[in-house]
Structures are given as C-alpha cells and as structure tokens.
C-alpha cells in the first residue's frame, strides 16, 4: 500500500506530491505488467468477495443482524471463499511454485483442493442459511 504522507505535503508539496502519485502509478503498472492473467483473475474474484463481505457486514451493523444464522452463513461464505481463493492464489503463483514452498503442488492439484474446499463450504453455508 502507498504510504499516506499528508503531513509532509504541507511542508514539501512540490516534491512530495508527484512522488506519491508516481509511486502508486509504478505499483499499479508493475502489477498490470508483471502479474500473470490467471492471478489477476483470482485477484478480481477476491475483490468481488471482499466487497460482498463488506456489504453484508455493513447491513448487519446498520440495519439488522436478525436472523443471525443467515448473517453468519452469508458473511462466513464470503470470508471462507476468500480464504480458499487466496490460498489457491498462493499455490498457483509461479514465483512460489518454482522457488517457494509449493514446489510439489501442481496447479491442477491446487485447483482441485480449492474446488473441493469450496463445495464443502457451500454445503455448510446453505444448510446454515435458512
């Protein structure tokens, strides 16, 4: 994440502000250029799940947590799916595969684990939902 440097901006506006923007821009361009498409695809799924979880949490706080089991199921499904998708991302990331700790895990195996975990998760979620 980019550091927030608002306090410095007041003293050093001319030098600091472009550099923050530049840093962000650099971060974004390196992400778009260097990340494989499949990881980007997982990332977009993660963002989608996070938004879903945030919306449900806001609804719970601002409107109602009744019935509470439905909240737990709905929120838990997004969180669980997020965790599973994140671990899938870790396992199929080429950097981890060739140098990291997931050398022995093939992407197919990782996806199978992910799919199996997700199906079990959704089974519990829908049992708990109504």
């Amino acid at each position: 994440m980019a550091p927030k440097s608002n306090t410095h901006q007041t003293t050093n506006t001319q030098t600091q502000a472009p550099s923050t923007q530049q840093t962000l821009h650099l971060l974004w361009s390196s992400y778009t250029n260097q990340t494989p498409t499949r990881l980007k695809f997982i990332d977009s799924f993660l963002v989608f799940l996070m938004l879903g979880g945030v919306l449900q949490f806001l609804y719970c706080i601002l409107v109602t947590d009744f019935p509470f089991n439905a909240f737990l199921a709905g929120f838990g499904s997004t969180v669980g799916q997020f965790v599973l998708a994140a671990s899938l991302r870790a396992q199929v990331n080429p950097e981890n595969r060739f140098r990291g700790e997931f050398k022995d895990v093939s992407p197919e195996r990782a996806f199978a684990d992910f799919a199996f975990g997700s199906i079990v998760l959704h089974f519990f979620v829908f049992n708990f939902l109504g």
Binding site: F41, P67, F71, F111
Partner: protein
C-alpha cells in the same frame, strides 16, 4: 311494628327470645344451623321480649333480639365463615354488636348518640329522621321497591362512619344536614362543636345508617343503624325487603356457568393442534379465544337467567403477573345468533413460555364475587416451527448465493482457460 322480612318467599322462620339460651343453637357440630341470621340488638325497652326466628324449607334464618350466651362475636364470625348471611341491627345501647362493628370497618360514634336532624321541619321528634333512598344508579344494591315507593324512609337509631375497607360499602347514607348527638342535649352538643370549629361532630352524608359487607366466602352482612329499618310500616318494609333480598343472596347474585378456551389461529399443542378445539397446551404466539357464560339469579321466578349486562369484566392471562389483561365484553352474537350471557374475547399468547392461568376475577361492591381460574401451559415453538426465509435477511441470502455463483463462474472460467492453455501447449509441442 317489626320484623317483616321476606314473608311469603318460602322462608321458614325460627324466633329466639333474648335471654332464651335453650333455643336452637346457631352452630351445631361446627356447622351453621341456619342459612341466614338476623340479630336485632334492640333496646331493652323494646316491646318484644319474644324474638322472631325465621326458618325456611330451603333456607333458614334466625332472628334474635337480644343475646343469649351462645350469641357472641365469635359465633357470629363463625357463622360468616360457614357462609351464613347476617343482618345485624345495632341498638343505641352498648352490646356485643357495638364491639363487633369495628371488626367490619364500621366506626361508631360515641355511645348513647342517635342520628338527629332538624330538617325538614316536621312533627316527629328530631331523632326520627326521614331519609330519601339513593337514586337507582348510585345504589350498590337493588333498592327497586324502596325507590318505587317514592316516600322517605323514617329512621331512628345511630349512624356510623365507614372505614376504607374495600368489602364495605354504604347502602343508605345519612342526610347531609343530620348529625349524631345526644337527643336530650342536642343544642349543647351543637354549640360545643361550633366552638371547636366542627371538630368532634359526627355529621353529614359521609355517615351511613345501613351498610353492606361481603365476606371472603361470599356471605353477606348488612349492618343497620337501628331496628326501625326493619319496621313493617311503609315505606320501611320496602327497604327491609330490598335489604333482606340482597343479604339473603336473592338479588345481585351471579355465577359462572361455564368457561372455555380454544385455538383460533396458530399451531396449538405439540405443533398440530386443530383450529377451533380447546388445547391442553398452547404455543407461543397462538391466538386463543376465551369464552365465559354468566348467569344471574332471578328471585321473582327463582331461576338462573343469562346475564348480559356486565360491561367491566376482565380476563387475565397470568404467570405470576398478568402478562395480558383485557376486557371480556358481552358477545354481540355469532353467526346471526344472539348469545345472551356469553362474554368472549380473543388474544395472542405472549412471547413467553411457562405455566399460565386464565383468570376471571370480578369483584364489585354489592355483587357476588366471580372467580374462575384454569391452568394452561404455554410452550415454545418446536425447532421446526419458526419462520424461515425472512425478508429482512435477503442481503445475506444474496451474499451467499452470489458467492456460490461467483465460485461456479470462477471455476468455469478457470477450467476454460486451462483448456485453452492446454491446447495451446499441445499445439506448441
């Protein structure tokens, strides 16, 4: 002069003389011998040395003028707990009744005082006070024939104040301008009272000359300020009849014939109760209908008639405290049929499980106390009795479904792209 009481109503009278201790005992083997007892604490001057005692085939009452050994406060209270009705007429002399009266919440003026009034101007002595009966709607007991007679009751005797005992109520109040005083020294008493700014003067319509008292068991007691109220001269005999009719449980007598409850809406006992049937237990949130039938005794025809006139009946649904207390109005009729004497209401069982009671507890001065209690358990919903798929939870359902759909789409796209890559790889090889 005296002792008319309900003649011709089938009462069998037994009289006992004042000092006759050989007469029939009031209580024998711990059971009251008479249904009704009239005790007249008359003056010794009284012309009667005979004492009339009333006895009837169905009901019995006893009239005593003075006091034999077995007539004492304990016996009289014992009679009350045995549901014997009493009419007690005070004399102006001290006797056992004057010492018993405070136990009933009567506050007697100093001894040897009579009710005195100088108004209206009349030929009678000032201690014979004309008292007009109360208006019908103000009277706690039916004084129909007294009111219809349209002439004032002539009273001589003592008046008394009433404490705030809820079981005690005035039947006949003293006139506003009357006061309690020694007949011979009236002017002095008045003058003294005036000097003290009215303190110590017993005066005004807060005092009563006749009062009713309802004992816990339902027995009725009438306290009279003097035996003149039982005189057989008109219009006092109308009053005597009205009061005796009330005291002897003829008028203002109610009873609950039946009470029932049934399920109107909901699941009832163990989740499968049939609508319209009484349940042995109800479930939280059930709609319950409660019906009670009330009758009133008609002394004229000696029958019980449906009573449709109570407007302030209430039903309580109680577990320690009333969780629900609602009016139980007379039924306006059902299916085009009139339902006389039926009181009905519908309510929703509270969201609280436990052992509840239906309670109808009707206590009004001058009326029989009505009491009905039935215990009924209210159980929580069964595990599958709760509503599912509530509208307030649709964001959660949407969240869960969107996650699942997202997973399916993700998996499909992932596998699709893997296929293409695989093909690409194979082609490259």
């Amino acid at each position: 002069m005296f002792y008319l009481l309900p003649t011709g109503k089938g009462y069998n009278l037994t009289y006992r003389s004042p000092k006759d201790s050989d007469g029939p005992p009031l209580i024998e083997h711990d059971l009251p011998k008479f249904s009704h007892v009239v005790v007249v604490g008359g003056d010794v001057k009284c012309r009667f040395n005979l004492v009339p005692i009333f006895q009837s085939i169905i009901q019995t009452h006893l009239l005593v003028v003075a006091f034999a050994k077995d007539i004492n406060p304990q016996t009289l209270v014992g009679l009350l707990s045995g549901n014997t009705n009493l009419i007690l007429a005070l004399g102006s002399k001290q006797n056992i009744l004057t010492s018993l009266a405070p136990e009933f919440g009567l506050i007697l003026p100093p001894p040897n005082t009579n009710l005195v009034s100088h108004f209206p101007e009349r030929e009678d002595p000032i201690s014979t006070v004309p008292i007009s009966p109360p208006r019908e709607e103000q009277s706690k007991i039916p004084l129909t024939s007294t009111i219809n007679a349209k002439s004032p009751i002539s009273f001589s005797g003592m008046s008394f104040a009433l404490s705030n005992n809820p079981r005690l109520f005035p039947i006949l109040s003293a006139p506003e301008e009357s006061f309690a005083g020694d007949i011979d020294l009236t002017s002095n008493a008045l003058a003294d009272a005036v000097e003290k700014g009215g303190e110590g003067l017993w005066a005004g319509s807060k005092m009563a000359v006749a009062a009713g008292f309802q004992a816990k068991g339902g027995a009725r007691v009438v306290w009279l300020g003097g035996s003149s109220l039982l005189s057989n001269r008109s219009p006092n005999h109308h009053f005597a009849n009205d009061v005796a009719a009330w005291a002897f449980q003829e008028t203002n007598v109610l009873r609950i014939d039946s009470a029932s409850h049934k399920l109107v809406k909901g699941v009832g006992a163990s989740g499968n109760g049939r609508i319209g049937q009484p349940q042995e237990q109800y479930t939280v949130g059930d709609e319950i209908e409660f019906t009670v039938r009330i009758s009133k005794y008609n002394p004229k025809f000696k029958v019980w008639e449906a009573c449709h006139s109570l407007t302030d009946l209430q039903l309580e649904f109680t577990m320690l405290d009333p969780h629900i207390r609602i009016g139980l109005p007379p039924s306006p009729g059902r299916d085009g049929k009139r339902e006389k004497g039926v009181y009905r209401t519908t309510f929703k069982a509270p969201d609280r499980h436990g052992v509840f009671k239906f309670i109808v507890d009707y206590r009004r001065s001058g009326w029989t106390e009505l009491k009905f209690t039935e215990t009924i358990p209210v159980v929580p919903k069964r595990h599958d009795g709760y509503e599912r798929w509530l509208s307030s939870a649709w964001p959660y359902y949407a969240g869960a479904i969107s996650t699942s759909v997202g997973f399916v789409v993700f998996a499909a796209v992932w596998l699709g792209s893997a296929d293409e890559r695989g093909k690409g790889k194979k082609k490259a090889e």
